[in-house]
């Protein structure tokens, strides 16, 4: 149904059925954490559009949860990393959109570079997907700015083993991507 007809598209007044969310602090948490959550997913996926889809999924889930606001960021970050990795594993892609978006990326000056960049993204995604899940998540979280203690708490690891887990993941990633 085109409820948006009179006003048109994404700028339209949003009319939802019963609230998708059950918490009063969702908007506040969303505004504070959204860029970070997108960044986590983008590190896995190499695509901002796809990462924003993941962030939406994650916030919808968060909205229905009773995770305390004080623990929101690590919770959201872990969820974003897992959801993004799931996207790779289930082969979810928006190839068409990426194709369409690529020529507009200012950082990609020509087609040859675009092809190289896309191939690079594909290889990184594949390499991440091959890592043990805990390693991949720890790696992404640490590179997204979570402290060792936060990564440890989020993944139920001892703080001492976070460094080991991240180290193994980085070593494996480099070997795989430079081989």
């Amino acid at each position: 149904m085109d409820l948006a007809l009179a006003h048109g598209g994404k700028d339209s007044v949003a009319l939802s059925r019963r609230s998708p969310v059950a918490r009063d602090d969702l908007e506040q948490v969303f505004r504070a954490a959204y860029p970070r959550v997108v960044a986590v997913a983008a590190r896995v996926l190499g695509s901002r559009d796809e990462a924003e889809d993941v962030a939406q999924e994650v916030f919808l889930t968060f909205g229905r949860s009773d995770v305390p606001a004080g623990e929101a960021l690590p919770w959201l970050s872990v969820a974003a990393a897992h959801t993004a990795l799931n996207h790779i594993r289930t082969g979810k892609r928006r190839a068409g959109r990426e194709q369409a978006a690529r020529p507009h990326e200012a950082t990609v000056p020509d087609v040859a570079d675009a092809v190289v960049a896309a191939e690079e993204r594909r290889r990184v995604r594949a390499a991440l997907a091959r890592l043990p899940r805990k390693q991949a998540v720890a790696l992404v979280l640490r590179h997204s700015g979570l402290s060792y203690a936060e990564v440890a708490a989020a993944l139920d690891l001892s703080p001492g083993s976070v460094g080991t887990t991240v180290r193994r993941a980085e070593s494996a990633l480099r070997k795989e991507l430079t081989s």
Partner: protein, 351 residues
């Protein structure tokens, strides 16, 4: 000398050295093997940081609107996103197909003016199959509605130039002071491109029907709005009821006989046969705007509001209802997490 710290400790020295015990730090400072280990860890960390870049440039406001509008029963899927953006195109094709009549030479000529809205049933699968207008030509949105909050009803009315109707009595469960929104006029144009039509058909493995003379390069323009809305929010900040009013859509042509464009669009593959048949029925007077209704999600029934023919839409799960009607060139919508009877009562009681 103390024992060598493990790889994890060496890694932590790279980016969180304060988290490493003093004894370990001292050991590493004096141990060539561990110093080399830290250097390797640093190299791998740097390599990884470069391999996992993240653009941070996001539009948080737009993302929040998307979340607030998301259907709770369904995560925002790629499909939804894909179809949301060309909604203007969708509306435009609706007007193009439903409109009728006048052919004129020269300048923009009004070919359609919404006086009535009628539901057209489009199954979700059909909607997926239906190509958007950009497969057949150039779609350009020349002005956007830029819907934004305004301070009060007077401001909304001033911006839109419309009288915002007042609700006589709020339905049960809708409470509190409403907020107001206003939006500018939206304008979109569509230009037929024979090359695009041919390319699209080829991709489908088909040969397109021959394009009538003069159609290639001819343009159509759709305008709608400005508009304004009164929005009551639930505790969670999501609208529980909306009363919206906007200048109804109007379409213009640069001159090709409208019936030519319509028949050609209808003859192209991609438009489900039953939708095409339904749309053909509306073509007589150029005043009926088709409203897509997905029977999987909504049911529709004709009704009336203050003597004007209206369409009542109800979600299949009974959670949401909307009634929409057109009078004197303006379209009015009452919608909410309400029953059909409730939205109708509100609509009929508007002052």
């Amino acid at each position: 000398m103390t024992r060598h710290p493990n790889d994890g400790v060496l890694r932590r020295l790279v980016d969180e050295p304060l988290g490493v015990a003093d004894t370990d730090r001292e050991h590493v400072a004096n141990c060539p093997i561990c110093t080399e280990g830290v250097a390797m860890a640093q190299k791998d960390a740097l390599f990884t940081a470069e391999a996992l870049p993240a653009e941070a440039d996001v539009d948080v406001d737009a993302a929040w609107r998307r979340l607030a509008a998301a259907d709770p029963g369904r995560a925002p899927s790629r499909t939804r996103r894909k179809w949301r953006s060309p909604i203007i195109a969708g509306a435009a094709v609706g007007v193009l197909l439903a409109g009728a009549g006048a052919a004129a030479a020269g300048d923009w000529f009004q070919i359609f003016r919404t006086e009535r809205i009628a539901p057209v049933t489009v199954h979700q699968a059909d909607l997926m199959a239906m190509p958007d207008l950009s497969s057949w030509g150039d779609v350009e949105i020349t002005s956007r509605p830029q819907i934004h909050p305004v301070g009060d009803a007077a401001a909304a009315e001033k911006e839109s130039g419309l009288d915002l109707p007042e609700v006589a009595e709020l339905p049960r469960g809708v409470t509190g002071e409403p907020s107001y929104q206003a939006g500018k006029r939206i304008s979109a144009s569509f230009t037929f491109r024979a090359a695009k039509v041919a390319a699209f058909a080829q991709k489908q493995g088909e040969t397109p029907p021959t394009m009538p003379a003069g159609l290639d390069g001819s343009s159509f323009r759709l305008t709608a709005g400005p508009g304004a809305a009164t929005v009551w929010s639930s505790k969670q900040g999501v609208p529980s009821m909306i009363v919206a009013r906007a200048v109804a859509p109007t379409a213009y042509s640069t001159g090709v006989p409208f019936v030519t464009a319509r028949d050609y669009l209808l003859s192209l593959s991609g438009l489900p046969a039953d939708v095409a048949a339904q749309l053909r029925r509306f073509t007589a007077d150029g005043t009926t705007l088709p409203l897509h209704v997905m029977p999987e999600e909504m049911t529709s029934e004709p009704t009336d509001v203050g003597g004007a023919p209206a369409t009542l839409l109800s979600s299949s799960d009974g959670v949401m209802s909307a009634v929409v009607w057109v009078r004197a060139g303006t379209v009015t919508l009452v919608a909410g997490s309400l029953s059909g009877d409730e939205v109708l009562t509100v609509a009929r009681g508007l002052r």
